[in-house]
């Protein structure tokens, strides 16, 4: 009884929060609602008696990844989603990436339809495989070793790419030890272009 109540509570939070993520105009609120959704998912994992997965969900997704999202949103100063298209035209009729999004949405719906249709096919995990840390580690490094390693290479590629993109030209890097530290310069730039951050335009807020 309690478990069912908790399940419906968490499930409702997850679904409503996820819907609100895409219904929000303000990206900061979208990020926060996504965190709420992750929190609810973590609650569902606890109900499935997988506390380790639940906590990892919070640490990795809600803790680490969403903080980066929040940083990017705050620094890019996008208090509202930019509307460079004519608002009166239906989204699907506008030019550009909207159509791609619609295609992806259709694909997602088809996948969901397919996945939900195959109910009861959850025998791929042996019982207790997600309950303890040891069991998760064992199945991750034996049965799923290939997938694990491929994922790690993918992340490594992304990291190398980020370093290459962020690297400066060595010729520019002549900073005398007496000069202002670069971070302070960066901060001064951000501060002077004030408005970069903060819930800026009050008049547009819903």
């Amino acid at each position: 009884m309690t478990e069912a109540l908790a399940f419906y509570g968490f499930a409702a939070i997850a679904v409503v929060a996820s819907l609100l993520v895409i219904a929000q105009r303000n990206p900061i609120y979208s990020v926060l609602l996504l965190i709420a959704s992750f929190g609810a998912l973590s609650g569902l994992y606890v109900l499935l008696e997988a506390p380790f997965v639940a906590v990892i969900q919070i640490i990795v997704y809600a803790g680490a990844i969403m903080v980066l999202f929040l940083f990017v949103v705050m620094l890019l100063n996008a208090p509202h989603e930019d509307t460079e298209y004519d608002e009166r035209v239906h989204p699907l009729l506008r030019p550009g990436p909207m159509k791609f999004g619609a295609g992806l949405a259709l694909l997602l719906i088809a996948e969901l339809w397919w996945a939900l249709g195959r109910s009861g096919d959850s025998g791929s995990f042996p019982a207790g495989a997600v309950a303890s840390v040891g069991a998760i580690g064992r199945s991750l490094f034996t049965d799923y070793a290939f997938a694990f390693e491929v994922t790690s290479i993918l992340i490594l590629v992304a990291m190398v790419g980020a370093v290459v993109l962020a690297r400066r030209d060595p010729a520019e890097q002549r900073i005398s030890p007496l000069a202002v530290p670069e971070n302070l310069e960066e901060e001064a730039r951000v501060a002077s272009s004030f408005g970069a951050g903060g819930p800026a335009p009050t008049e547009n807020r819903p």
Binding site: I58, I59, L70, F71, L75, E187, A191, G197, P199
Partner: protein, 340 residues
């Protein structure tokens, strides 16, 4: 309602009130120790030896006007201090602070001196600490002030950077303790080596202890890593625009986080409640160890000057993290070789 359940509820309330008290006591201790180190008297007017000073402080804070900048985001501005304080209180829930007790025979079953016994307690603390960052980021952003924003960004960048070393130091201990449960780790530190050295993990993990304490100071945004509040540059950092009780909540969160980090360090490295007569007065040993660490915190704050921001980042990424990683690798190799 079984007696055990009632005892559990009472215990939860007790821990909550005690955390509030610990913040008040820490404010007093901070001011007194600062005065001691600077050859001043410190607070001495309110109550005997100034002991009632925290109460006077709280009353002052409560009667201040609650201000909100006109350009601030009202919802997030109100939410940020709540997130900070909630995260600070929640993290302590999984910290065990004494051996199982029957309260001198009052209960039939033993009561565990811990609010929630989670078998992944260490990770829970880590997860809640990462939630606390949001309070600071949102406070900085929603205030709509440049000092707040920069303070919030600095502080969250700092917390994210030092969280890595913090996690690595934790991981080394749980390799030795062979468990993610803090209770099991404390149990693993019972007894002595050669009859006189207590089997605390600090002796197996001296490097890990130093890394943990350093990262812990940075995580709680305390001096010498207190950039969010670098007053010469940023006024008061992320809580510049806060006043009255919402400011007090940030203040409270900072002190409770200090207590939590000290308590976790005690459980992980200093043997928790282990000591002579641990079965009955274990919690006294626990309190003494936590108090020693808290004194160390205050001592550091009033001894060391603040780092520069780029030095802080360089230290975190180029010194502390490599040391923590090497420590973890050596520990893992040692555990594999000696089979601890």
């Amino acid at each position: 309602m079984t007696p055990l359940l009632i005892a559990q509820i009472v215990l939860t309330l007790f821990v909550f009130v005690m955390l509030l008290n610990s913040a008040a006591i820490m404010v007093y201790v901070e001011r007194k120790v600062a005065a001691l180190l600077q050859q001043r008297l410190g607070p001495y007017l309110v109550g005997p030896k100034g002991l009632l000073q925290p109460i006077a402080d709280v009353i002052k804070l409560m009667f201040k006007e609650e201000l909100r900048p006109r350009a601030a985001d009202p919802l997030l501005f109100a939410l940020a201090p709540i997130i900070s304080a909630t995260a600070a209180f929640a993290a302590f829930a999984v910290v065990p602070f004494g051996a199982d007790t029957t309260l001198l025979g009052l209960l039939r079953e033993p009561l565990r001196l811990q609010v929630a016994d989670v078998n992944v307690a260490i990770l829970v603390i880590f997860a809640i600490a990462s939630m606390g960052v949001y309070g600071i980021v949102l406070a900085g952003w929603s205030s709509n002030s440049k000092y707040s924003l920069l303070g919030g960004l600095r502080s969250s960048a700092q917390m994210i950077s030092y969280e890595l070393s913090y996690g690595m130091a934790l991981a080394a201990v749980l390799l030795i303790g062979n468990s993610l449960s803090l209770t099991d780790i404390v149990h693993g530190q019972a007894g002595t080596w050669f009859g006189f050295i207590p089997r605390w993990f600090i002796f197996l993990q001296p490097v890990g202890f130093v890394v943990f304490l350093t990262a812990g100071i940075a995580e709680t945004n305390r001096a010498p890593f207190d950039f969010p509040e670098a007053e010469q540059e940023l006024v008061a950092g992320y809580h510049t625009e806060y006043s009255s009780m919402s400011f007090a909540m940030f203040f409270l969160a900072e002190y409770i986080n200090m207590v939590t980090v000290s308590a976790v360090a005690t459980d992980l490295f200093l043997g928790g409640w282990q000591g002579p007569f641990a079965e009955t007065i274990g919690w006294v040993w626990f309190l003494l160890k936590v108090a020693a660490l808290l004194f160390f915190y205050v001592w550091m704050r009033w001894t060391l000057p603040r780092y520069r921001y780029d030095q802080l980042m360089a230290f975190g990424w180029k010194v502390l993290l490599p040391v923590a990683v090497v420590n973890l690798l050596v520990t893992a190799a040692g555990v594999l070789y000696f089979g601890i």
